[in-house]
C-alpha cells in the first residue's frame, strides 16, 4: 500500500481577526492535490475571511495557528509571493480598474509566475494565442481583453473574467470565493465548465459557497461547514444536499452549544 500523499494545503488551528474582531476561531483543514473541497456556511461564518487570510489580504490578521502550502509557510509570504507560488484567489467582488488593460494585467501576472518558475516569458503573440482559447471556453468576447480590468462589466462578466484569469494562470491551488453568487443558470454552467476544466491530479480546488447549486456542476470530494469561525462538520457531497434541505441553523446551534 502506498502512503497517502502529503496535503498540498494544510491549515492547523487557525485563529484570525478582522478590525479587532475574532472571526476564525480554530480552523483546521487538509487538502490534497487532485481534491475539490467545498466550504459552506451561513453569512458571517468566516468563509470569506478564511479565503482572504490565505491570500494575504491586509487587515486580515492571523492571531495563531498555521497554514502551509506544499510544505512552505504560507502565512510568511507576501500576497504576490503566494500568487506566484501557485495560489489563486477568485474574488467575490472583483474590483474595476479603469485604465489598466485586462490583457496587460493578465500577461504581466502570467509572466511574473513564469519567471518565478524559471520559464521563458510569453511574448504578445504567444500570450494572445493562449488567452484566445480560454476566452472561447468562458464565452467572453475577445474585445473585453482590450478594456480596463472589469471596467463596465456586469456581475456575471466579472465572475467569468475571474475564471478566465485562473485558466490562464493555471494555479496549483484555486480558492474561489462565492464565484457562483450573482450568476444566472447559464453563466453558472459556463463558470462550472471552466472550473472543471482545471480539475486534475496536480491541482486542488477550494470552493467557498453559500449555496449548494454550484456543487451540482462542480462535484466536490469533500464538504465542510464553517460556522462561528470553526469547521463544525465535514462530509462528502451528501452533506451539501442535507444542508440544502435543512438549512444551517441546526449546525450553528450545535456550534454554539
Amino acid at each position: 500500500m502506498s502512503e497517502p500523499s502529503a496535503p498540498m494545503l494544510e491549515i492547523r488551528d487557525l485563529h484570525a481577526r478582522v478590525g479587532g474582531q475574532p472571526v476564525l476561531k480554530g480552523v483546521s483543514l487538509s487538502v490534497r492535490a487532485g481534491e475539490v473541497h467545498a466550504i459552506m456556511g451561513p453569512n458571517g461564518s468566516g468563509k470569506s475571511t478564511l479565503a482572504y487570510v490565505l491570500a494575504g489580504r491586509p487587515g486580515y490578521e492571523v492571531i495563531s495557528g498555521s497554514a502551509s502550502f506544499e510544505g512552505r509557510d504560507l502565512l510568511a509570504l507576501a500576497p504576490e509571493e503566494r500568487a506566484r507560488a501557485g495560489l489563486f484567489l477568485g474574488f467575490q467582488y472583483p474590483v474595476e480598474i479603469p485604465g489598466v488593460n485586462n490583457a496587460y494585467l493578465l500577461k504581466t501576472a502570467l509572466n511574473a509566475a513564469r519567471r518565478e518558475h524559471g520559464l521563458a516569458e510569453l511574448d504578445a503573440f504567444e500570450f494572445l494565442a493562449l488567452v484566445r482559447s480560454k476566452t472561447q471556453l468562458m464565452h467572453i468576447d475577445e474585445s473585453f481583453l482590450g478594456r480596463g480590468v472589469n471596467e463596465g462589466f456586469s456581475g456575471g462578466e466579472k465572475k467569468r473574467n475571474e475564471i478566465l484569469q485562473m485558466l490562464v494562470l493555471e494555479p496549483k491551488l484555486a480558492l474561489l470565493d462565492e464565484t457562483d453568487s450573482g450568476l444566472d443558470i447559464d453563466a453558472l454552467k459556463v463558470v462550472a465548465n471552466g472550473v472543471n476544466s482545471l480539475r486534475c491530479a496536480e491541482r486542488c480546488i477550494v470552493l467557498v459557497t453559500h449555496y449548494q447549486r454550484l456543487l451540482d456542476h462542480v462535484v466536490p470530494d469533500f464538504v465542510h461547514v464553517l460556522a462561528r469561525g470553526r469547521i463544525v462538520r465535514s462530509g462528502d457531497r451528501t452533506l451539501a444536499l442535507e444542508l440544502e434541505r435543512r438549512g444551517y441553523d441546526w449546525l450553528s446551534e450545535q456550534a454554539a452549544a
Binding site: 489580504r57 479603469p98 489598466v100 494585467l105 511574473a112 509566475a113
Partner: protein, 433 residues
C-alpha cells in the same frame, strides 16, 4: 527680523515697476504698444501684488515669486542664435503640424511662412480681454513681452508652437505671448509646448488669449516641462461665441512653481468647453491652477477633468469655479477633480465650486483626494504582480482618463513620457501602454 528685511528690500511690486521703468523705452513696438504696456503697469500697481489672504491665491506659491529679482527679459536674440539650436534639443515633430519656435520669448524659426489656414501676423487685434484680479500676473507679460505669436485662423490649421527657454535667460524673465483668433467655422489644432534649459530662466510669464467666433473649433494641447528653477506664471483667457467648441488637454510636469490662472467665457448659445488636465509634481514642486468658467448664454456646457499626483513634498491645487449666470438656462456643467497623494509630506487641494443662478441646468461635481486604493492594489498583488509594478499601473490608470483623450499618437506618446518621467515606479516598469 522679517520687518527689517521687508524695510530693506523693496516689495516685489516695486521691483517689477522699477525694472519696467528702466527698460520701457527700449522695449519694441509702436506708440500704441507702448501705451498698452503703460496701461498694464498702471493696472498692476493699482491692483497690487496678490496675497495669500485672497482666496484665489491661497494655494499659489507666492513666496517663490516674491524671491524674484529680475523681471527684465534677456537682450534680444537674433535668428542667428536660433539656427544654432541643436536639433537634438528640439522635441520630435508631430506629423501634420507646422512648427513655430520662440526662444526666450522671441520668434526664432527664421522665415515668416504663410501657415495653412491662417492669415499670418495680421496687426494688433482689439484688446477684448481684460485681466481680472485673479489673473493679474497676466499684466506682467503685457508690460514686458517683446514678441507675440499671433494667429488668425480661417479654414483649418494644425500648428505647434514651442516656447523654449535657454540658459542665456538665467536670472532674467521670459514673456511668451500667444493671441489666437478663429474665424467662424474655422478649426485649429494647436500644440503649445513649454520647455527649456534646466538652469534657466527665473520667471516665465505667459499670456494666451483666445477668441473663437461662431462654430469655431479649437483643440489646444498644452505640455509644460520647464526646468525646476523656473517659475511659471500662466494666464489664459478665452471667449467663445455661439456653437464654438474649445478643448484643452494639458499635461504639466515641470517648473519649480507653476500657477495657471484661466478664465473662459461661454458667451454664445451652445458654446462648449472641455478642460482636461494633468499635473504631476514631486520634490518641492508647487502646481496651482485657478480656472473660472462663466456661462452667460443658454445651452452652454463645461466638462472639467483634473487629475493630480503629488509625490515627495509636492503641492498641487486645482480650483474650478463654474458660474452659470441667470442668462444661461439649459446649461450643463460636469466637474471631476481627483488627487492622488503619493508622498508622506505631499499635499493636494481640490476646490470644486458651482455657482448657479438659473433653473434648468444639469450640473454635477465630484472631488476626491486620497492615496492609492488598497483594494485595487491587493487585487493586483493577488494576481502575482510585484508591488512596484502594481503601484505603477495604478498611478498610470489614475492619469489615463486624461491621457487617453490625446488622440494624436505621437503627442500622446510624448505626454505619457513626460508623465512617466515624474513617476519613479512607472519609469522602472517601462512602457505601459
Amino acid at each position: 527680523m522679517s520687518a527689517t528685511a521687508t524695510a530693506v528690500r523693496a516689495s516685489v511690486l516695486d521691483r517689477v515697476l522699477r525694472d519696467y521703468r528702466s527698460i520701457a523705452e527700449d522695449l519694441p513696438g509702436d506708440a500704441l504698444a507702448h501705451a498698452a504696456r503703460a496701461r498694464a503697469a498702471a493696472q498692476l500697481s493699482e491692483l497690487g501684488w496678490p496675497s495669500v489672504r485672497d482666496e484665489q491665491w491661497r494655494y499659489a506659491n507666492l513666496r517663490a515669486f516674491e524671491r524674484l529679482d529680475a523681471f527684465r527679459p534677456p537682450a534680444a536674440v537674433g535668428a542667428a542664435l536660433a539656427l544654432a539650436l541643436p536639433a537634438a534639443e528640439l522635441p520630435a515633430a508631430v506629423p501634420g503640424f507646422e512648427r513655430l519656435i520662440y526662444l526666450d520669448g522671441v520668434r526664432v524659426d527664421g522665415a515668416q511662412p504663410q501657415l495653412a489656414g491662417t492669415a499670418g501676423n495680421a496687426g494688433e487685434p482689439a484688446a477684448a480681454w481684460h485681466w481680472s484680479a485673479e489673473q493679474r500676473l497676466g499684466l506682467l507679460c503685457d508690460m514686458f513681452a517683446g514678441d507675440t505669436a499671433r494667429l488668425h485662423v480661417h479654414g483649418q490649421a494644425a500648428i505647434e508652437i514651442l516656447f523654449m527657454t535657454s540658459e542665456r535667460a538665467a536670472g532674467a524673465a521670459v514673456y511668451p505671448r500667444l493671441q489666437l483668433q478663429l474665424e467662424p467655422g474655422s478649426e485649429l489644432k494647436l500644440i503649445e509646448r513649454h520647455l527649456g534649459a534646466a538652469a534657466a530662466p527665473a520667471l516665465v510669464a505667459c499670456n494666451v488669449t483666445i477668441e473663437l467666433a461662431r462654430a469655431a473649433v479649437l483643440t489646444h494641447y498644452r505640455l509644460q516641462h520647464y526646468g525646476r528653477h523656473t517659475l511659471f506664471a500662466d494666464n489664459l483667457w478665452a471667449r467663445l461665441a455661439e456653437q464654438a467648441r474649445y478643448t484643452v488637454r494639458s499635461v504639466a510636469v515641470g517648473a519649480g512653481t507653476a500657477r495657471t490662472s484661466a478664465r473662459v467665457q461661454l458667451a454664445g448659445r451652445g458654446a462648449a468647453l472641455a478642460w482636461q488636465a494633468i499635473a504631476v509634481g514631486r520634490g518641492e514642486q508647487v502646481h496651482d491652477t485657478a480656472l473660472k468658467v462663466e456661462h452667460s448664454a443658454p445651452d452652454t456646457s463645461t466638462e472639467e477633468l483634473f487629475r493630480g499626483i503629488a509625490d515627495e513634498r509636492a503641492r498641487i491645487a486645482f480650483s474650478g469655479h463654474i458660474h452659470i449666470e441667470a442668462s444661461a438656462p439649459g446649461s450643463q456643467a460636469r466637474q471631476s477633480l481627483r488627487g492622488l497623494i503619493e508622498g508622506a509630506q505631499a499635499e493636494i487641494d481640490l476646490r470644486p465650486r458651482l455657482e448657479i443662478q438659473t433653473d434648468e441646468v444639469k450640473a454635477a461635481h465630484g472631488a476626491t483626494t486620497g492615496r492609492l486604493d488598497e483594494d485595487l492594489l491587493f487585487y493586483m498583488l493577488a494576481r502575482g504582480l510585484d508591488r512596484q509594478t502594481a503601484r505603477a499601473l495604478l498611478k498610470w490608470a489614475f492619469l489615463s482618463d486624461v491621457l487617453r483623450e490625446i488622440e494624436l499618437p505621437a503627442l500622446r506618446t510624448e505626454a505619457e513620457r513626460l508623465a512617466a518621467g515624474q513617476l519613479q515606479d512607472v519609469q522602472a516598469v517601462g512602457a505601459l501602454s
